[in-house]
Symmetry: C2
Subunit: 150 residues, 2 copies
Amino acid sequence: MAIARPIDRRLFFWFDRAHTILAKEADQFLSDNSGIGSSQASVLTYLGFHDGCGLSELGEGIGRNNPAVTGLINRMEQAGLVKRVHGGLDGRRKRVQLTDEGWSKREQVREDYRIFNERLTRGLTQTETDAVLKFLTLAPENLSKNLSKK
Amino acid sequence: MAIARPIDRRLFFWFDRAHTILAKEADQFLSDNSGIGSSQASVLTYLGFHDGCGLSELGEGIGRNNPAVTGLINRMEQAGLVKRVHGGLDGRRKRVQLTDEGWSKREQVREDYRIFNERLTRGLTQTETDAVLKFLTLAPENLSKNLSKK
DNA sequence: CTGTATTCATTCGCTTGTGAAGCAAATTAC
DNA sequence: GTAATTTGCTTCACAAGCGAATGAATACAG
C-alpha cells in the first residue's frame, strides 16, 4: 500500500474549513432568495422525496440528531412550512408533512440549490464532481461500519 | 452547456449532511485519542505550518471568523496549547504560538488525522481523492470570487 | 499636524447544534 | 399477564459559532 501523501492527511481539515465557509455562503444565499437557512432547506429537500416520514428518519436523512430535528421542525411548523401528523398505529411516532406553502418553498429552494451548486462545481469536470458526490455519500457510511473495529 | 443532472443539484445537501456526521465522528475520535475537538485540531494543524501568525490570518486559515477565533484561542491558551504574544511594531496585532505542549499535541493530532482520513477515503481511488481535495480547496475560492457578479 | 477612515481583536446577544436524561408507547421475555 | 427493555420524541443545560457593535492602534488625506 502506498504511503499516504502529506496533503491527504489533511483531508478532514480542508473538509471542515470548506464547510464553514460554504455553509455561511449557502445560508446567506438561501436567506436572500427564499428566506430560510440551509438546515431548513435540507428538510424541504428531504421531505420532497420522503414526505410523511418520521422525525427520526428525517434526522437520519439530513444528518442531525433527534433534539436538533425537534427544534428544527418546531420552527418550520411555526413558519407554516410543515406539519406534524400522528403516525397511525404506532402512538409514539409522528410524521412530518410538507404544507402547500412548504411544497412551494421547496421549489424555490430547488432552484436556489441549482444555481448555488453550479457555482460550487465551477472548474471541476463531471468526473470530478462525480467523485465528490461519491465521497460525500460513501464516507459517512464507511465510518459507521468501522466504528466497532477501531 | 449540459443540463445539470438531478443528483448534482443536491451537492450541497450531501455536503452538509456528510459534514455533520463526519464532524461528530471526528470530534469523538480526536477527543478519545487526544482530548481535543476538531476546531482545536484545526488550529494545531494550521499553526504547525504558520506558527506565530496573527489571529485574523488564523481565522482565514481555518475558516472561522474573528469572534470564533478569539474564543477558540482563549480555550486553548487556558489549556496551555498556545500562547498569545505581541505582534511587534503593530500594537493591534497579536500573534499565536504553539507551546511545547502544543507542538506535542500537534504530533498526536497528525497521527489521529492520518488514521481518520485513511478511513474516510476507503473505497476511493487516488484520483477520486484528488478530485475531492481539489473541490474542497477550490469551492470556497470560487464563491468569494463570484460574490459580486451575483 | 489634525481629523477621518481602516484594521485587528474583543465583547455582546442570539441561534442552532450536542449529549444526557426523561416520558410515554410498544415490544419482548418469562 | 406482568416486568423489563426498546423505541420515538421531547426537554434540559450547555458549547461554539455567527453578525453587529465596540475599543484600541495605525494609516492616510488635506
